[in-house]
């Protein structure tokens, strides 16, 4: 590994300094929940084990004590019911922030998410707002049991009526969650579990003006654009660091809003770099990488010096621990087609390996 530390890299995105506070991502989410619970009495936090326990990841720690059992409460184990209740609460003027405990346990709630939450505003011709933010600890990389490492962004991004966010830094975790809760549309807010413990500066006081649907250039470069979200952004930054040693300057675009997607941001980056690689943990086939690839190809075909590559999880069921360590997507070959050949030495806990020049 190079000497690049996690902190240094994130610092590049949001400079530490006066006005920022060093927080882990789960602390940042917790602070954002404090902020919205404090500013808006119609906000409610509920889900499995979010109250007394403070959530299995302690993301909701202390909220029940601060805002009471009426506004922060545990529910029975009923994911469909949890979202159904959120829909009813929204119809009665509340701004619910339900948590589904893990990505893999949101499947029982898909009907309520797709057929009810996402469409109620439409069905009622705009009379019933659905300002619901579904918090969903997401993605892999924590060596957990089955169903605790799913990447569901493609499912949600396909659904009219939903918006989907997936932050990669504590600072974005904080500000994107504020935006999501304050928005009057339903948002599926996917928190990369593998990044919960990583720290970085957060501009708590700032009122971020970036609109919903904006991407972020996490690193500037000119030879190719790596496009990622969630935990994969950090991986891409590591890849870019290694590539830089080899004289290859990779741009890293943190998509962060998976619906709507920042098409302009993608196109303007690719117009400069002429090559793009989209990286995600979800299986390859019909993953969101396909959308990113198709979008770039449609809008920037003449700019592309090479086809957009996808570096993704394999089309397999998310594996158990040790096997997980040995399943990594096609980082090397795919990147190499754009950027010269690397080999890899890091079988890290997350899906995408760090690549190293050879």
């Amino acid at each position: 590994m190079t000497g690049v530390t996690v902190e240094q890299e994130r610092a590049a995105a949001v400079p530490a300094g006066p006005g920022t506070t060093e927080l882990s991502m789960r602390e940042a989410v917790n602070r954002a929940l404090h902020t919205v619970l404090g500013e808006d009495p119609t906000t409610l936090v509920f889900g499995e084990d979010v109250g007394r326990l403070g959530g299995v990841f302690r993301v909701t720690d202390g909220l029940q004590r601060a805002y009471g059992e009426d506004r922060v409460f545990d529910t029975p184990i009923a994911e469909s019911g949890i979202i159904g209740v959120a829909v009813g609460l929204a119809m009665n003027g509340f701004r619910p922030i339900p948590e589904l405990q893990f990505d893999g346990f949101c499947y029982p709630a898909v009907d309520q998410i797709v057929s009810q939450m996402a469409r109620m505003h439409y069905r009622t011709r705009g009379t019933a707002a659905m300002p619901i933010t579904v918090r969903l600890p997401s993605f892999g990389g924590i060596q957990a049991p089955e169903h605790h490492g799913e990447s569901l962004e493609a499912l949600f991004a396909h659904v009219p009526g939903l918006k989907v966010a997936a932050p990669s830094t504590p600072d974005d975790a904080y500000h994107l969650l504020l935006q999501s809760v304050r928005a009057d549309d339903p948002v599926v807010y996917m928190e990369p579990k593998a990044r919960y413990w990583e720290r970085g500066p957060v501009a708590l006081e700032e009122n971020r003006a970036t609109p919903i649907g904006s991407s972020r250039i996490a690193r500037h470069g000119r030879h190719a654009t790596l496009i990622a979200w969630g935990a994969m952004v950090q991986r891409c930054l590591q890849v870019a660091e290694l590539a830089a040693e080899d004289g290859v300057e990779l741009e890293v675009l943190d998509l962060r809003w998976l619906k709507p997607i920042d098409a302009d941001g993608l196109v303007s980056s690719v117009a400069r770099t002429r090559r793009a690689v989209v990286v995600h943990e979800a299986p390859l086939t019909a993953g969101l990488g396909a959308e990113v690839s198709a979008l770039i190809t449609e809008r920037a075909f003449r700019d592309l010096a090479a086809p957009v590559q996808r570096v993704t999880g394999f089309d397999v069921c998310y594996p158990a621990g040790p096997s997980n360590r040995s399943t990594c997507p096609r980082s090397t070959a795919s990147c190499s087609r754009c950027n010269g050949r690397w080999s890899s030495d890091d079988h890290g806990p997350t899906h995408l390996r760090t690549a190293r020049p050879r």
């Binding site: 209740v85 009813g88 009665n92 009810q116 705009g126 009219p160 918006k163």
Partner: protein, 347 residues
């Protein structure tokens, strides 16, 4: 297999003793109007104005009796797709309601929030937890409204209904689960739908009162619903009511009942017609006479015809609405797609 232990629907005359004549008259007017409107709607489907229609015929007492017990200012109804008489009783704009059946807009063209009658919802079981959430909100806000969720015997098999009832029990919220057991879920009868034979019997398992009521007796339904609402309003938590009735028409205008049930069964139930029974009881109790019934008929017919003409003539919503209501806060991508639509599809 157990059978339904509730009162056999349709036996004897409704008992009106404790009911003010005003109320039975109101029931009658709404039930008859719903009946005539239902008949017009079936005709509109035959004429090709509606692509399809689901009749509530035979269920007027269950719907009007329960809806009449609601507080229109405070309560909120979560319907499915067969609650036309509930909508009518609540004063929903019926042209807007029937617009859903003309396929002008899935949820209907009335204002569900102002009407306190949710949008038409085609997912069997899906809206039941919404009622629980709404009721939780009501309690949190310190208001005194109740939610009522209408669903069918078939819907009772869905996981969502269980989750909703358990949540309502755990949070002890003011909600009434109102099951119209019309004996059939499309082609499937109660025996193959409801283990144990009784939806009302499920209530005990959630620690809530459950009651089966003659769904073809408007007064009995009214009393059961009023009692449940009073309990809910005073902090007594949820109640499950099973109104035992019958779907005398096919499931929808596209359905063919000869494939799965006997004409004799339908006939027998048509004879226990809730409107006929209410009229007889009103006469017997001296609540009303010929004059009232004739006037009611005239007025109901006028309303039905007016709504029929209204819904037939209602303009189609603007095509732009397809794009306008997806989000409250529009996205650039959808604005782009709307432009494509305007340029390529609209002309």
């Amino acid at each position: 297999m157990q059978t339904n232990e509730g009162p056999a629907a349709g036996a004897g005359l409704p008992a009106l003793d404790d009911l003010a004549p005003d109320l039975s008259c109101a029931f009658y007017r709404d039930m008859l109007t719903a009946r005539l409107l239902d008949t017009e709607a079936i005709a509109l489907q035959r004429q090709g104005v509606f692509p399809a229609y689901v009749s509530l015929r035979g269920q007027e007492a269950a719907q009007v009796g329960s809806a009449a017990a609601l507080d229109r200012e405070r309560d909120f109804v979560f319907p499915t797709y067969r609650e036309m008489a509930v909508a009518l009783t609540l004063g929903v704009d019926m042209v807007g309601y029937l617009a859903s059946h003309r396929a002008l807009w899935h949820g209907g063209l009335y204002d569900p929030m102002a009407s306190r009658f949710g949008a038409v919802n085609a997912v069997v079981g899906g809206p039941v937890p919404h009622a629980v959430g709404w009721a939780m909100g009501e309690r949190l806000a310190g208001r005194r409204g109740c939610a009522i969720s209408y669903f069918g015997d078939g819907a009772s098999s869905e996981g969502d209904v269980h989750e909703a009832m358990n949540l309502a029990g755990v949070f002890h919220v003011p909600v009434v689960f109102f099951c119209q057991n019309n004996q059939w879920a499309l082609s499937v009868p109660n025996e193959r739908q409801i283990a144990g034979g009784s939806v009302a019997a499920r209530a005990a398992g959630y620690g809530m009162p459950g009651t089966a009521v003659d769904g073809n007796d408007a007064a009995a339904v009214y009393r059961a619903t009023r009692e449940a609402l009073e309990r809910a309003r005073s902090g007594g938590g949820p109640t499950l009511i099973e109104a035992v009735t019958y779907r005398v028409e096919p499931h929808s205008t596209s359905d063919d009942t000869t494939r799965y049930r006997k004409a004799a069964e339908e006939r027998a139930w048509r004879e226990r017609d809730p409107i006929t029974r209410l009229r007889a009881a009103m006469r017997a109790a001296g609540h009303a006479g010929d004059g009232f019934f004739e006037r009611a008929e005239r007025e109901a017919r006028a309303t039905a015809e007016q709504v029929r003409d209204g819904v037939s003539a209602a303009p189609e919503p603007a095509g732009e609405d397809l794009f306008g209501y997806v989000y409250r806060e529009p996205t650039g991508e959808l604005a782009r797609q709307r432009r494509v639509w305007q340029e390529e599809v609209l002309p």
